[in-house]
């Protein structure tokens, strides 16, 4: 029996509807909203402002004399995402290599342990870390004092630099299991005979890692680091719970700035400005992703 020409489209219909409802429509609405001035409190009262909201992104300098609120948040986001994703890749690869090694006993136990940060809701993980990093009752301070690393407790979340580092370390901790599991699955697909042949040729561990392991897991590495970058760019809960974007604006990344602009700063902000910020973030993340894919694919050829 020959299938009708329209049959594939019938099967595709649910996907197209879902795609339109959950992606195209919201995105188009955000684009539209970015050209208006209005508040959630009075959504029917919309004023067309054209490109003003986009200009505002670069001119609103109330909180810093150097950068606009948006640019300040953007720069922080780039460093924050770099720190978090870098840490996830570095520790993720290390963890995956360890779990893939032959000498490690009890791998199943470690794999189960690894899932814990991922299985706990993000908000809960952030709350746990809020108290773990606490200057008075925190476990880390307690350990540091008992091991005589410091004589007095240190409030990790109380100072700009330490708060900035602490928030992306917590974010990396939450995202690490995904990275390890995915990279481990990549490592397990590498045929053993490649390593055996390299050993016969006299290659050391480092050479084997650089010439066999890395090239073989490159597709997985590319995918997970890209996904991780996109997710980390949108990371909100850990920062909000740990520092609320402070001290001052030390941890005000783009998602925090967008949230403040749309929900909190009714006079300075508004839905239109927050939408403009969102569109800019979408374009930026998409461009970065494209550049990243092209660069890595180029290297491959």
């Amino acid at each position: 029996m020959k299938a009708k020409k329209s049959t594939p489209y019938v099967f595709l219909l649910p996907l197209i509807v879902a795609f339109g409802l959950f992606l195209v429509y919201p995105l188009a609405k955000v684009v539209m909203d970015s050209f208006y001035k209005f508040s959630f409190l009075n959504p029917s009262h919309k004023i067309w402002v054209g490109w003003f909201n986009y200009k505002w992104l670069f001119t609103f300098k109330l909180y810093s004399p150097t950068y606009s609120y948006f640019i300040g948040a953007l720069l922080k986001t780039v460093i924050w995402v770099g720190g978090s994703v870098g840490l996830k890749i570095f520790l993720g690869l290390g963890g995956a290599l360890l779990l893939n090694s032959e000498f490690l006993k009890g791998k199943k136990f470690y794999r189960t342990l690894l899932i814990i940060p991922w299985s706990i809701p993000w908000a809960m993980s952030a709350m746990i870390w809020y108290w773990t990093l606490n200057g008075q009752f925190g476990l880390i301070n307690s350990l540091m004092i008992h091991l005589h690393i410091t004589s007095e407790p240190f409030a990790f979340l109380g100072y700009p630099t330490s708060a900035f580092i602490s928030t992306f370390v917590v974010d990396a901790w939450i995202g690490l299991p995904f990275m390890v599991i995915m990279l481990l699955s990549g490592l397990q697909t590498i045929p053993k005979h490649l390593y055996e042949a390299a050993t016969i040729d006299g290659a050391g561990d480092l050479v084997k890692f650089a010439k066999i392991t890395l090239p073989m897991i490159k597709p997985v590495l590319l995918t997970v680091s890209l996904l991780s970058m996109v997710w980390t760019f949108n990371s909100f809960a850990p920062i909000w719970i740990l520092t609320r974007g402070g001290p001052v604006t030390a941890t005000t990344t783009l998602p925090i700035a967008i949230y403040n602009t749309s929900f909190r700063y009714l006079t300075f902000g508004g839905v239109g400005k927050a939408s403009a910020m969102t569109i800019f973030q979408v374009l930026l993340v998409s461009s970065l992703s494209l550049i990243y894919i092209k660069t890595l694919r180029g290297g491959e050829s």
Binding site: L41, A155, V248, R264, L266, F268
Partner: protein
Amino acid sequence: MKKVWLITALVLAIAIVGVATQTLTVLMPIGGGYTIESQEVLAKGFEQTHPGVKVNMEFVGWANLWNKIITSFGANNAPDVMYIASRWIPALASMGALTPLENYITVQKEHMYYPSVWSSLIYDGHYWGVPRAMSTKVFIYNKKLFKENGITKVPTNWDELLADAKKIYNPKKGIYGILMAGKKFVSTVTQFEQYLCANGGEIVDPKTGKVEIDSPQAIKALEFYKELSKYAQPGITNWTREDLIKLFEAGKGGMYIDHVHNALKAMKAGIDVGFFPIPGGPDSNAPYSTVVVVDCISMSSQTKNKELAWEFMNYMSTLKEQTRWDTLQGFVPPMIKEAEEPEFQKWYWKPYIQALKYGHPQAAGIKDWVSTANAILNAIQSVLLNQSTPQEALKKAAQTIAILQK
């Protein structure tokens, strides 16, 4: 005859269905002592006295209450009645989100409350809420730590306050002279406001709307906040007032400013607790001071059933219900008759009720509280972190608030 019965039955059925479909949505916060059980009794009680009415109570964590209100208005799905902080009234009212209540609040009802309570609920000449919770704050102190450090009387001015904090401060033992808040959170602004008002300062002049946060009194208050913080727990920029009780209960703090319910909590944990009012600063004529925070219940402008919404608000604000709520939560009574209840005659209530005499409204004249609070928080944090001087930080905050007040 059969026809008559049929029509009667039909009319009755329509009437029953019509009455039964009256639904009221009420938004309430949870967290701290605000539990679902302690608030759902209101819905059940109202349903019993109003057959055919269904009260849908929605609950949201305190920290998300503002966002929930904003998003529900955005979705055209605002609750009929909602619990709000009175500091949000100007923003909500000026956006047309609330129903003015002067046509509903009777003279008799108005006179049930202390007149000063209403000052937080009036904006632009209209009444926007009915009081639900009121609080004043005083210093709670650890008598044992005071005694151990040779302090025989409680401080009555800022010099004595600083000197006592210094005496108690012993970081090697993990004991701090004073516990302070500095995290980006609304209660940090209120904690600073305690010193600001105690020194005769204010954020804006409620009569003219002029920004006063960079006045000499305010600068002195922030200088003092910074000076005091030297004898507080380290890293105060990550401590909220709500978390300080954990340090106080553990015997780690000499004194701090908080509610009566946390003082009771510390007593239960075995701390010998004493109270003293917040002393006036060097630039103030008043001997003591406290910031009065009022939360209220308001009616949404989107409600389709204003009469029923008001009936519920009226039901929530009877003397009996207000007394039940305040004794349960440990709030200062906003009603004159309520203050005569035996519970409020107890020794630990007296400092809080007496403080009312020196009360300052938390947000009088402030048009956009959330943005104003953020500007002040940035100033407080940048001073605590040595990024700017109190003068520079408050000047910057004043410039921001001036735009918000336009």
